[in-house]
């Protein structure tokens, strides 16, 4: 499992990659939870574009993050789920735990126009 994080305005974006299963759960938890707990982050978006699979233990980490975010009234969203991961979210009912968006730009725009503008500016700069 690989993990990166970025910030656009006051929104943190977590980007895990690979399989979020038993072997990855500890690392995923240690990387993700601080972002959910950080009072600087008005919202946390988890970008699943590079996640191939998530098991019950990976989903448990997501629940911990959701609880931590909600405890301080921060929003939390899941975006860009691959079809298999989207099915697992639906079967486990985790699609009712998170705000769900098709893409990261969609989520940013819905949560904070400033964050979306920061994302667009970064995209322009990087290209």
């Amino acid at each position: 499992m690989q993990f990166q994080s970025r910030h656009f305005g006051s929104i943190a974006v977590a980007t895990p990659a690979g399989r979020l299963d038993h072997s990855a759960a500890d690392g995923f938890e240690h990387s993700l939870l601080p972002l959910a707990q950080d009072a600087q982050n008005a919202a946390l978006i988890i970008d699943f574009a590079d996640v191939d699979y998530i098991s019950s233990v990976g989903l448990r980490v997501l629940m911990l993050a959701a609880k931590a975010a909600r405890a301080r009234n921060a929003r939390i969203a899941a975006v860009a789920l691959q079809p298999i991961v989207a099915e697992i979210f639906a079967i486990s009912r985790f699609d009712s735990v998170f705000e769900m968006f098709a893409t990261l730009p969609d989520a940013l725009a819905a949560m904070s126009p400033e964050a979306r503008a920061a994302y667009d500016a970064a995209l322009t700069r990087d290209t």
Partner: protein, 319 residues
């Protein structure tokens, strides 16, 4: 072991299909039948049998009671939920009340939904019958007696006329009962519950209900995989969705379909049977959960497929 017969499959408290539920099934079946012709009773039967389960049948509402079809001359069952009444009536109906029978009754724990059927178990009132209760709880007998005390029930435990014995079973140690090798495992549930592994003639059935899997300790996961190892059938507490079991219903002592599939796959079990259904779920919701669980098994399948079924009152699974 030949298999199992489910007499009660619901968690927490009994439920019944109500008038609006029956009406909805009739409306759905009649709408589906529009334009069809039925030339004989056989045509009608064939049509009804082909309806989706959630329209043509019901999962039922009795609480936990699962008969073990041991292949031996004596009866055996897991838990004493409200389904126990129908089990007793069926045996009396088969043999008549004057034919003494022996019943081996394995109790997962003494929460009310798992013992409430005993006061209505006809064979317990008939002299000559022999009832042997097995469990891992020291207070099993006290709990069964207490629920029949005044003012909760008008007939006291001492009025029961069958011969009654209690056998305390130590977890993690195989015991020989009724020709079966029986092993208990302590499970995470308020006040503890015990799962049972039954082995006979090369066949294995695991009964694991009212068991929460916390997903935090790898050792616990592996221990349950060992307990389920290569079982022909695992009857598994799938009361909640994983989202519920890890949030608002965490520490309520129950598990999910997702964890059931994962543990059975890890164990190399052959069939997972979803059990201890949430009483708030109707037939359509339970049928949807079964379909989704089968899809999850397909997504995550390893070398060998895992059969997935959902228990209903009256279901027989023959190994």
């Amino acid at each position: 072991m030949r298999g199992v017969r489910f007499w009660g499959t619901r968690g927490s408290l009994p439920v019944a299909l109500d008038a609006s539920g029956v009406r909805a099934k009739l409306v759905a079946a009649l709408r589906d039948a529009q334009g069809r012709t039925f030339d004989s009773d056989a045509d009608v039967d064939a049509y009804v049998d082909a309806l989706p389960f959630e329209i043509g049948a019901t999962f039922g509402g009795n609480t936990s009671c699962v008969e073990l079809l041991t292949g031996g001359p004596e009866y055996a069952a897991c838990d004493l939920g409200s389904g126990l009444r129908a089990f007793g009536q069926a045996v009396i109906g088969q043999h008549g009340p004057a034919s003494p029978q022996t019943y081996h009754l394995f109790v997962s724990h003494v929460h009310w939904d798992h013992i409430m059927g005993l006061p209505f178990f006809g064979p317990a009132y008939i002299p000559g019958n022999r009832l042997i209760f097995y469990g891992g709880h020291e207070r099993l007998e006290a709990a069964l007696r207490r629920q029949m005390d005044m003012p909760s029930f008008p007939v006291g435990f001492d009025v029961l006329r069958a011969s009654i014995e209690f056998v305390h079973l130590t977890p993690d140690t195989p015991h020989d009962v009724a020709g079966m090798r029986v092993t208990l495992k302590r499970q995470h549930h308020v006040g503890d519950s015990y799962g049972y592994r039954f082995e006979r003639n090369g066949r294995t059935i695991v009964y694991s209900t009212d068991s929460e899997h916390k997903l935090t300790e790898p050792g616990e996961r592996l221990a349950f995989a060992d307990f389920f190892r290569s079982a022909d059938l695992v009857i598994f507490d799938a009361m909640y969705s994983l989202a519920e079991a890890t949030s608002v219903k965490a520490d309520w002592g129950h598990s999910s379909n997702i964890v059931g599939v994962e543990l059975c796959q890890l164990a190399g079990a052959k069939e997972l049977c979803l059990f201890h259904h949430e009483p708030a779920l109707d037939d359509a919701a339970l049928a949807k959960m079964l379909a989704e669980t089968r899809r999850f098994e397909e997504i995550t399948r390893g070398a060998a497929p895992l059969r997935v079924s959902a228990a209903y009152d009256g279901l027989e699974i023959i190994l």
